[in-house]
Every structure is written in C-alpha cells, then in structure tokens.
Symmetry: D2
Subunit: 459 residues, 4 copies
C-alpha cells in the first residue's frame, strides 16, 4: 500500500470465501464509496467459478452510480496467491455445504432439541465447529506464511471458535471477529427512546453501549444517549411490550423476532441482551424458549429451516448470474456494516469505536483469559485495542460462563481432533439435556452425517 495526500492507494485485500453471493457484494459496495482508499481485492474460494463471477461483478462496481474509488477484483486459484502481500484479509466461508448444516440443525429434532439457527452453540454449533476449526487453522498458517502483518477480519461462524483457532494457530495474528448482531439491540433501544420521548434517533450508532459477553450472547451493561435515562426508558418499554413483543417488519421472516426473549431475559436479570432472540434462546436451557415449535412461536420468533437457506441460495445464484451478465445492474447501497470503516481506521484515516470479538486479555475480568469475547474496541492506525468492558453482571454471569467453559473445551477438542472431548462439551450444552448414552447416540449420528468433513477426527 502507499500513503498519499488523499489517503491510501494500492491496498491489497484478500477475500477468503470470495465466491460469496451476499457478504462479498456488500463489501464491494462499501469499498466503492470509500473515497480515500483504493487498490485490489483478491478473491479466493474453493468454488473457483464463483470467485470468477465475483471478479466480474466486483469490477462493475467501479462504474456504478455513486462509486468514488476504484478497485480491481481478481479471482485467484490458490489461497497463497490471494494472501501474498495482502494488507487485509477478509474471511467469510461456509464450512461444508447446506447439507451438513441440515444435519447440524435438524438431526437433533429427533431428540426433542430445536435450534433456530444452529451455527454458534448447541449441537449444531458444536458439530459445525468441529469442521470449521481445521479450516481456520489452514487459513491461519497461510496468513503466517504470506502476510503475517495483515489485519484479518473474520465473519465466519461459529465466530468465537473461529477467531480462537486463528489465534491458537498463529498467536501473533492481527485478527478480530466482526458481527452486526449488537446493532439490532441498539435499534430496539432507539425505538424505546422514540416511544418515550418522541425523539427520533438518527442512527443506531448514536446509542452508546458498553458490551460484554460472547458472540451472539452479548449484554449491554451501560447504554447512554444524550441526557436521557436510557436504562429507565428501556425498563418501562419492557413492561409495556413484554406480553406481545414488538411487531416484525416482515411477519413471515424466520430471521426477525418480536424481542420477547430479550424482554424476558431483561426481567430475569435486569440487563439488556444484545443479540437476536433466535441466538439468545440457544444459549439458555432448552426448556425456557425452545421446548417445541409452539413454545417458540409463543415467544415470537421462528426457527430458520435449512431448506429455506437452500432456496435462498438458489435465488442468490440466480442474482449472481444476473449481475454477472448485466441483466441486473450492480447498485451501491448503504449496508450499515462496519468492515470498511474498520479498514479505514486501521489505515489511520479516522478513529473508530465498535464492538468486535477478540481474545480476553482482561477486558472482561470475570471470564477466562484467552476466551474469545465480544466487547467494544478502539480502531486506530494499525491498532485494535479492546475497551475495558468490566465484569459480566451477576445473574447473567452464570449463563455466559457456561458458554465460556464450553468454548474452551471445544477449542481444545477441535485443535486436538478429539471427539471424546468434544462430546464433553456436547453433553453439557444447555440445549442437550440428555443422559450420556442418548446424547452420545445423537452426537455419533451427527458426526456420521458430516463425516466427509471430519475425517481427521476419526482414527
């Protein structure tokens, strides 16, 4: 890269999973409007053709309406080529296919275990971690070899275990994990403020929050906005909406929620949970929110079936085709994502504060050191530093520590390719609640279903 009077030129960004038909396009859009940076984006994907398509699509963004900078997109046949000399690395992969995810999410149903997402924790998250961690190890090794000083942004789930694998493999890596889940809670707080005061909050980022926890199970211990008493406003809001929840924008969506779980947790603990209800529910005991579809429905959310994801993929494939051929024009949109802002901050073009996933060095004193935690961090010229976030509050601590403990066990189990150890986390998971033999049967079945990706574990 090269610093000029107007910013930075000749940046090289490597995109692992660069055949993505979603995230990748958002990044393209955000890069196109970043006027003080320019350079190249190297796309690597195990589906080389997909990255070739994105090369074409990406390059179209340079002439999209509103584009302010120029980026050259290249599909690369090897990860080494993509990483070589990179200043930034974006990791956004799908570990396995939706067939594996189908097993992750739906096999446990036979045992009465229902997962709305199934990619972070619970039986699904655990099995997904088993196949993802080895991939992350490969990526970390390649980064160590080809671009050890690059900043690495991970979007892949299970977020915490992915970031942990990067650090465990290459401790000097400059990596963090990026997730927009907290924004949703900030938007709920903004709604509460509007309802209480009539004041419209321009941007969810104007709600300043202190975040503690682990990815998809984060908690806001302090929220402030101007001279309002935000905690009081939120407490009143919960009382008003606890029973019916908030209306969804799209009632049919299986991604949205009525925030009733969030409100229930607030009544239990007096702390604002900062993720979507579908994620939050997966970290609690199964009997609380996930006993069956009826209970799930009563709590105002739904499970996302993998069949939906498969259908959606078809649509995205079709759209990719349209974008590639020009049947649909690429369009710059306001994505609301942090990624490019983080990149600019790391180049010294602005200071930026947002929540990310990093190893716990003490920013959350009552969670284990080395655990991947989510807190605010400062992004400055070539530096990411966690903000001291304080303790996970009383009450909530026991829920978060359960997940923390499991994360550490799973990290070791995956690193050591040890299915028996992984089973210890599995049988202990709040969603599982089965006796040892039954839990083992489920575990073995899920391993069997996805064994194509677990060969290193089976000796």
């Amino acid at each position: 890269m090269k610093y000029t009077d107007h910013g930075v030129e000749n940046l090289k960004i490597a995109y692992i999973g660069g055949g993505s038909r979603g995230w990748a396009w958002k990044l393209m859009s955000d890069l196109a409007v970043a006027e003080d940076i320019s350079g190249q984006v190297d796309l690597y994907d195990i589906d080389y053709e997909a990255s070739l398509h994105n090369e074409i699509i990406g390059n179209k963004f340079n002439s999209a309406k509103g584009a302010k900078s120029t980026w050259t997109y290249n599909a690369r046949r090897t990860i080494d080529e993509a990483l070589c000399g990179a200043d930034f690395v974006v990791i956004s992969i799908l570990p396995g296919t939706f067939d594996e995810m189908e097993s992750d999410v739906h096999t446990p149903e036979k045992y009465g275990i229902f997962q709305p997402v199934g990619d972070t924790t619970g039986p699904g998250g655990i099995i997904r971690a088993l196949r993802t961690v080895p991939m992350m190890e490969v990526i970390a090794e390649a980064i160590k070899e080809h671009c050890p000083k690059a900043w690495v942004i991970n979007y892949t789930n299970p977020m915490a275990l992915c970031v942990k694998a990067l650090y465990d493999t290459f401790p000097e890596i400059k990596a963090f994990g990026c997730c927009h889940e907290v924004f949703g809670a900030q938007k709920v707080i903004a709604k509460a403020i509007r309802e209480a005061t009539g004041e419209e909050v321009a941007d969810h980022r104007a709600i300043k929050t202190n975040v503690v926890g682990v990815n998809h199970f984060t908690w806001i211990t302090d929220a402030s906005y101007h001279d309002y008493d935000v905690n009081k406003i939120y407490a009143d809001f919960v009382e008003r909406h606890y029973k019916d929840g908030l209306p969804k924008e799209n009632p049919a969506s299986t991604f949205e929620c009525a925030h009733k779980v969030k409100f229930d947790l607030y009544r239990r603990y007096g702390v604002i949970a900062a993720a979507g209800d579908r994620h939050l529910a997966e970290f609690c005991e199964g009997s609380w929110y996930l006993k069956d579809d009826e209970q799930i429905h009563d709590w105002g959310f739904a499970r996302t079936p993998v069949s939906y994801r498969k259908g959606d993929l078809c649509e995205r494939r079709a759209r990719s085709e349209r974008l590639r051929t020009g049947a649909e024009e690429v369009k710059i949109e306001n994505t609301g994502e942090d990624g490019v802002r983080q990149i600019r901050a790391l180049l010294g073009l602005e200071d930026f504060i947002t929540n990310v996933n990093l190893p716990n060095r003490g920013q959350i004193p009552n969670l284990p050191l080395g655990l991947i935690v989510e807190t605010n961090a400062t992004f400055r010229d070539d530096a990411v530093d966690p903000v001291f976030a304080g303790e996970v509050p009383e009450g909530v601590w026991q829920l978060v520590s359960r997940s923390a403990d499991s994360q550490l066990i799973m990290a070791r189990a995956a690193r050591e390719r040890d299915l028996d150890l992984a089973f210890k986390a599995f049988v202990n998971d709040p969603l599982v609640g089965l006796d040892i033999p039954t839990a083992r049967a489920l575990f073995d079945e899920m391993v069997e279903n996805t064994k194509k990706y677990l060969l290193e574990y089976i000796r």
Copy 2:
C-alpha cells in the same frame, strides 16, 4: 482460658443451638476424650428446656467410661450470657421448624420439582436462606459485642450463606463452616483402592485430597495415597460400577446413596465429585437426576421426606429423655467429626489440615472474591488459613459458577430483605426451570407458608 504444661484449662465454649439432640452429644463425646483441654460449655437455645436437658446430659459425660477431661455444661437463658467471654462459638441451629422445612421441600413437588434434601440450594435452600440469614446476623452482632476474638464454627445450613452472613455482618469475625460431606467421597476412593489393590485404607483421612467448590458441591481435583495412581484407580472403579452403583449399607436409608450420580458426573467431567449424591443432584439441572421419583430411584438414591425427619426428632426426643433421666447411659463414641481437633489446633496443640468453608480470598482464582468456598485450610495456633486450591476445573466450572452467582445474589437479597431480588436467584435455579409467572407463584406460595419467619421481608 489458661495455658498449662499439659494443655489448656478454663476454656469457654458457647454452643448456639445448644438444645440440639444430635450434634451436641457428639461434641460432648469428643470433648470428653480430649485429654489436654478442659473448661465449660455454655448452651443457648431458643428452646431453653432443651438446653437444660443437655446441661444434665453433658455433665454426665464427665463420668462416662473413657472420659479423659472434665467439662462443665451450663444452660443459659440469653445468647449474651452464653457468648460472654467465649473462646469458641459453635453454631448449630434449625432455622424455623420442620413445618417450614416441609414447605421448603415438598411445596415445589406440585410444580414437578423434587428435592432430596432441600436445605442448601434449589427452591428449598433459597427459602431456608431467607429465614436463616437474619438469625445469623443477630448471632454475628452478639459475637461482635461479647466475644469478638472467639473462633466461630458454623454447622448450620445453608452453610455457604450462613458463613457469608457472619462475615457480611462482622467482617473481622474468625469464623469457618464445618461439614463432613467430603469424607464420604474419601471413603469411596478408599473402597476403590481396596478393590484395585486389596489394601485396606485405615482412615478416610489417609486419602489426601485437594478440594474446590462450594459446600455440598465440592470437587476433588487431586487425590493421593502412597504410590498409587489414585485417579486411574478411581476411573477404573467408575467403569466397573457405573451401571449398578455401590451397595448401600442400609438399603432403606434415604440418606445413603449408590454413588451413581457421582460416577455419572465423573464420566461427564473427569473430576471426582465430593458430596453425597442427594446433594450433588440438587446443583444440576432438574432433568438430569431429579425428574421424578422413578428417575431418582434409578440413580440409586432417594428423597428424604420431612415426615421422616419429624419422626426421627420424636425418637431423638425420647432418647434425650432417657439420657437425661439415666434410663440410657451416655456413651463415648468415635464420631469422626473434625470439630474438637480443630479446636485443639486453634489452641496450638497440634497442626491440622482439613476442608472448611471460608470467604474466597483467592484460594480458588476462578470464583468471585468474597464467595464462601470450600477448600482445605491449615489450622494452627489461633490461625486458620485456606490452602491455595487452584481453579475449579473446566466443565465443572460452569456448574459451580452457577451456584456461586446465585449465592452472591441470595446473600444480597437476604441482607437487604429483598424478595424480588431473591426471586431472581429462585427463577434462575437449575431445579426451577419454570417461566417467570409460574416460578413466581411457587415462590410466593413458599414465602406465604413460612411467613412467620419472613416478616422482615414483607413490607
């Protein structure tokens, strides 16, 4: 007290709950055979007559066969008289009556919650704590006034919250909580050694253990005996007996257990649980071991109904009458309790190491400071110091931290006489697993049943 060439004379021990028809007699027996100490024991009980009976029984021990020292027992009408000038204070009270305990243990059954003991954790433990903590505060205030330098031994349950209340009320108090529950686990280990090697272990104390956890939910992270590999021996023992458990001495007893829960926990976590199964089960999710009586039976233990305790009390009353009138002779027995040994050590007559309950100053680094934890401690001349016990191990940590978090909430709830805060611990308890309104209904019913002892909470 007065040091002589042969030990210590003129000791004064205050016994709060001195009308006890069980523990008190064991203490009398142990004191009678302690040849290098003598003095007086002042008995205080809200049932003055019971303490008067124990005055008579206690004094009979001086002429029992095998008695080696002389102690004068006095029933006292006020706690102040009993404590005035005491060198040691023993606290062993029943908070409320068995009627209250009946509500603690059996009311939750209507909601599908089954408690084998119900005096430590779970709904029963929580309500019991509400009525016990204020009593402990009164006792601590009286100790502060009348004998601030006395050593205070608590036997009352819920142990952790009782000891916490003592320290919260009078931070300079020299108190610890004493419980023999770990001995049972040491005996199981001794059995495992005998089975594996043929060697008879003379005394459970010969099994050296490192203990971490909270009372009734303690874990042995290290066990040693001579040059054996105790952990290996125990692991093999679990494999052999996991399915059928160990035979009980008295199959009809509701206090004994087959240790199947202990073995199941070992298979889950690889750590030796160090309490009776009835206690251990109460700290786990209800669905694991306590779903219903059939499941409980399958796991090889039973619930102790309060009706049994009421019947037993009648028998103990009758025995008290026999002892008092001489119809039965007092008899010195080997109680296996630590109390008198601890007293001798605190007088400088020997050094002694055993497990007790103390505020966490860092002896368990991954539990909160100030929590009452159970670890080994050294007992020396006027000094009790916790042994550094190390971290609660991976896996188990999440179970213990759940209880730890609850302890801290409950300590504050009781101190501040705040039922709403207590309900936060209640609804969060692993045995409860109810939604908020249902849990509140149960909570309110249990409070109502025992409100005679909870007037300070109801404003």
Copy 3:
C-alpha cells in the same frame, strides 16, 4: 442543557479555580471556537476578584475574531452557586500559595534532594498532596450535593491523588484527570519519524500510542503510524541522540528538556517513557538523574525554581489586567488541549480517544485495583471507558509499582489525616533515601513550613 439540531445549548460549566490566569484563558479560547455548543461558565475561586476579572475577560471572547459560539461567564461567590446544576465541572486550583510550593521544592535541597518540579511525587509532591486532598474532598462533597451527574475534569496536581480523593469521597462521581504530558512524547516520536523518513507528521495525535502508568510517569507500550515500524525508528533515534539529546526550542527554559532521561530510560528498559524528563527523573532513584545541579545539567534539563513561578505569576497578573481593561485584546489560539473535545464527545457530538487518569478497574492488570492510572479511554455520549491497556512492562513495572504503592499509602494518610502514615510514604520515596531520623526531621520541617494548610493533621 438542551439538545438542538445543531448541537447543545444552555450548557453549564462550573470552573473551580476560575480565577486562573492561564488555563482558564485556554478554555475560553477553545470554547469560543466550538460551534455546536454554547452556554454559561460559572467561575469560582477563593480569590473572588480574580474570578471577577475572568468574568470580564471571558465575556470578551464572544466578540473575539474567530469566535463561533457564545458563552456567558459569571463569577460566583460560593462554590455551591457555581456547581448548582452544572453539566461539567473543571477543577484547576493551586493548593496553597507559591510560598508553600517554595517549601515543597526547596526545603529538601538542604538534605541533598533536588526536585525539578516537586508537585507530583518526591517530598514536595507528598506534602502538596497532604494539603490538596482535603480540598478535593470538599469539592467532591459539593459536587455530590449540587450536581452529582456532572462530568468532572481535574487538572490539579498531584493529579493521581486528586482524582483518587474525588472518587474516595464520592464513589459515583464521573471524574477523570486530564494532562497533556503524553503529547510531548508523541512529538518526539514524530521527530524520529521525520528524521528517519523525511515525512512530516501533521499532528502528534496521528501517532497512535498505547499508554500505561501513572500520571507524569507514563509509558508507551505500543506506538503506530501508518506502515512504519515505529519502535525500530525510535530505537535508532535514541542511539543517535542518546549522548547529546535533542536541542531545546528555548535553551533558557526550565520547562523544556533534551529528552536524555527519556532516552536513558529507553536504553534501560526498551520502553518509551511518555512524560517530560523533569517529571520522569522524580520517579527514579535520586542518584540516577538528580544528584546535584551538575548532574541535572548533564542530563539536559533544569529545575524550575519557585522564584521563577512567582515572577511568572506577576507577569500573568499584569496580562490579566491588560486583558480586563482592553489594553490587550483577547485572542483565540490553537491550544492543543483536549478539554473541549472531551466535553463535545461527552455530549455525543463525536467519539474521541485520548489518555486520561481514572481508577484502575483492571485496565492495567498488574497494578492494584482502585489506583489512579493513566491509559487511553474512549469518550462517547455520557460515557468515559478506559481502554484495556495491558500490563506495565517488565523492568518498568518495578518503578511504577513503587509509585503505585506510595499513592495508595498517601491516599489513606491524607484521608485519615495521619502524618505518621504519610511519613511511611515519605521515607520510602525514591528521592528521599535518608535514614529514619533524618527523613523525619525533613518531613517535620516541611510540615511546619506549610502548617497553615495542615491544621487538620495536627492534633
């Protein structure tokens, strides 16, 4: 205050020490150019006339060239009036007069102890703390009563003990201590970069640093600027300039330094010290840099005699008179201070990251909790959060821990008005190095000299 579309109106700032003839004028200048905030500044000073003069001077800034906002300045006769309803409080007082400071700085010379500044640590800093802490307690009590939710910015030295007194008196206070000392080190780094690369760094703030330590004894554990290897550049710079130091802008100034102490400390510890050499030297053993004036001169700095400060005060008084009467026009200048930027950030008008003094909640894990430490912090809407700064590095840790320990002793000594305890810190100070009786003689003499302000200590 009142939020509008353009920012915040009707702000109320209370300025304690508002008769200041230096800092106050900088604040006036910075407020005048802050276009999105306006309101009133209430000035309180024990020298009421001085605050009256500043009322007049302050109001002139509204019509100064370049002024973009309007502020009403009012001199207030009582601290209560000044604080009542304040949104922000600025504390910048001189504890005692320069006569007391003369004793602080120069009395120790008779014992061979030479202090370049004498207001932070060493004998001078310790005696100054004794008279300052009670003043801070009074201010904190008044804030608690009149504006408990105000943000409080302290500039008074000894910084750490002043901020600690604020928190010890009113634990919920929203206070931080602000000092520009680190900027000097950033400027030295900027010089090193220019020398190595020819590149001019626009602003010292462009050098991103991670700061750990205590005020005036801070250390930069990480510095970054674009893609340069700043640590390497600095190490080379030290090697080149170690012997001769850097030229001063004004060779006669007793405030500037040649940075030779800073370079010597870098060679000793491999860490960049981040304060002026006059301050740094006072935290090291006296024999290192402060044996006598010759050694001080060889190290490229000088002591600031209090006579200089007295002369300077005369000049500032004269200038105040000129500004008040209009003989000199008030002029808006670029002060480089953080204060107004912090205020804007706390109002939610921008996010801001800078170094400040706050209680250690764990942001520096190897210093005691509760110690006032200096690290970066994020300033956002109604929130200041320390950045997790990490450990004080090996080697340096022992120097900083010495100061930390002393801070805690002195805080307690001042709070409890205990001269004997203060003497424990005094005799232990690295600059003192005297035996107990000699140190006590010096201590007593310094107390006697300033006893007008220490009456509460002398019982």
Copy 4:
C-alpha cells in the same frame, strides 16, 4: 519404595552435590533418626572423590549412637545412575568454585557496592544465577528422563532462580526450594515473647507465622502464639531494641546479626521481615544499609568475605578426612532442618506445614504468576500445596515487586543465554545505582572473571 506396616522401606534418595561437606552430613544425621523410613542414598558430585568420602561417612551413621534406621550410601559416577528410579532428589550444589564467588562478592567493591552475602540478589546474585541456571536445566532434564515422579528438594542459591529453572525446564517437576532463613525471625519473636511475658517458647515452630515474599526477602504478615498479642509484643520489642540491636551469640561471626535492619524495616513498614539482616539489606537500596563497612557495622552486621568461606572449606575438608578415617566419630545431632520431615510427610507418614519456595499460582495475588515465591505449604502424602498467603502488604510490596521483576528478567536472560538482557536486571538492581556505562563495565568485568562458567552466553 515399599510400604510396610511400620513405614516405608527401600526408599531411594538421589543427592546431587553429594560430595557436600556440611549439608550432606546433616541429612545423614536426620535420616538416621527417622525410624519409619529406610533405603539408599545415591551421591553424585562433579568431585567424585568427595562423594566417595561421603559414601564412607554416610554408612558409618548406621552404627552411630541413636541411629534408628539403616541407609546405604553409594557414590555414583554419573548423574543418570544417581537419579535412576529415585523417589526423592536433593539438590545442593556450589555453582562454580569460591574463586567465582570471590569475583561475585568482591569485584563490585571497586565500584562502591558492598554485599554481605552476594549469592541471591545484587551483582553477585545475578552473575551467580547466570552460571547456575544452566546447571539446573541439566539436572531438570535428567530428572525428567530418569525419575519424573520424584520429589525434588532444592537447597542451592540463588534459590528462586534455581527453582524457576527447574520448572521452566520440566514444568511437571515436583520440586520445591527449602531454606531455614525464616526460623531466625521466629526465634526473634520467641525472644520478644520471653522478654514480655517471661514465657519460654519451646521451639521456634510453635510461633505460627504467615509468610509472603521471595526467598531471603520474606515477610511475616501474621504471627500467633497462644493467646498473646504477638504483633503488639513485637512492636514494643522493636522500640526497646531498635537502637542497640540484640546481642550476637558469637560477636565475631560474620553470619549473625543484631537484627537492627529487621527492626528498621519494621519501623518503616510495620511488617516483620523474616530473614537475616545480611540478606535483607541486599534487597534494599545500597544507601540504606550498605554504603560502606562503617555503615554496615553501625547496623550491627558484617559482610562475609569469601576468604572466610575458603578457610572454612579447608576446615570442613579436614573434618571430612577425620570422619572418613574414623579419627572423628560421626555424631547424630538435632539439626533443626525440615528436609527429612518433609520427606516423611510426602510419604504420608504425617501432615506437615512449613514455608517453602514454589511457583506462584496465586498464593500471593499481588505478585506475578509463575514467580518463585516463599509461603507456607502443606506437605501431605505425595502432595505439596501452597497455603494461600495473601498480598504482600502495602509499602513492602514495592520492595518485593522490584525483586520479583528482576527475577523474571533474569530467568529469561539465563534461559536464553542473553547477557544484554541480564544487564537490564543488573543495572536496575537496588545495590547497583550506577549509570549505564559504569554498570556495564562492572558487569563485563564480572562476566570476564567467571567466564569459564559462562561460555554458552558468549557467542
């Protein structure tokens, strides 16, 4: 080894440095009177002849008057033979010869640095560490290979760095460092009790103390004996004896002290220092107690010249010859050492509590983890566990943290054979106080003088 009804037979003890003409004979005497253990002691020494002589002397102990058990002593030609199958390892070596020690102790005198001992800290301790750590690494490697489960007792100085090297080399080692220095402080306390109360304390061990710190710089934070107020008694004792100190038993001895340094430190910090004054003084700034021989004399102690040690060695050689040939009879004495008692405890024959050197796992929360610290520990069957000792107290903390920091730097410097890093500790040492070039000249001279043992450092 083999457990019998009466104790343990066939124990194997390996003695590294087994040609010792002092410690070895004490161990022989203590083993001879331990009636419930017996076995063999394998002696290894780089001076094989010396170990041969000790073989002969050791075997004579079996028939000494009062001997109660039988031990076979064997001189071994290789460390491997000595260690093979050992149950216990004793390490007591002299690193280098007294010629090297002469340089350690006396070279710094040219620079005005006076060391009473010079084997633990200060310039002498640092250079000694450089040559000792590699030897410890060799021993630890051999233990790992030949007897990984053996208990290892180190007596070699510098104690802390030796034990650290053992653990750094073989983290699973079961090692601790044993030093009788604290006993001296307990004896002073016993004197204070006698003077205050007339009561004779039978044994220094009857004074129960809580110990924190690092070897030779330990502090007693709590001392108890019966119902006396020991802290008050000690404070009064210090006031009476501060000026003149206590009389030495042998005024000519350079090993004894008048305890004036100990009393001075008590007046400075209010904490009882628990080592001989010669050691204590070396951890403080040189100007306090070690400016010159006159100051040293005034403080009531003396430096031990290495010439004395050389002379003493001649005498011990002569005595060895007499013992070997029978010209002098071996005699069982009461050594007062802990070693054999620790061995018996580790065999499960008694529980024992004493102070030893172990890695800090948290037993002293305000010192770094991994530092070798001295606290009490429990010795039980195959288990040594540190007692939780609490924080190093305010005031003292800064002195101990200085040494702690240096220990960590030196451990790394020696492990990495890095003289430049070792120099960082050297120039920072409280006794050194020289500027960088002068300190480097001294350092280089001391390295040169002892380079025979430092070849691995010089590349």
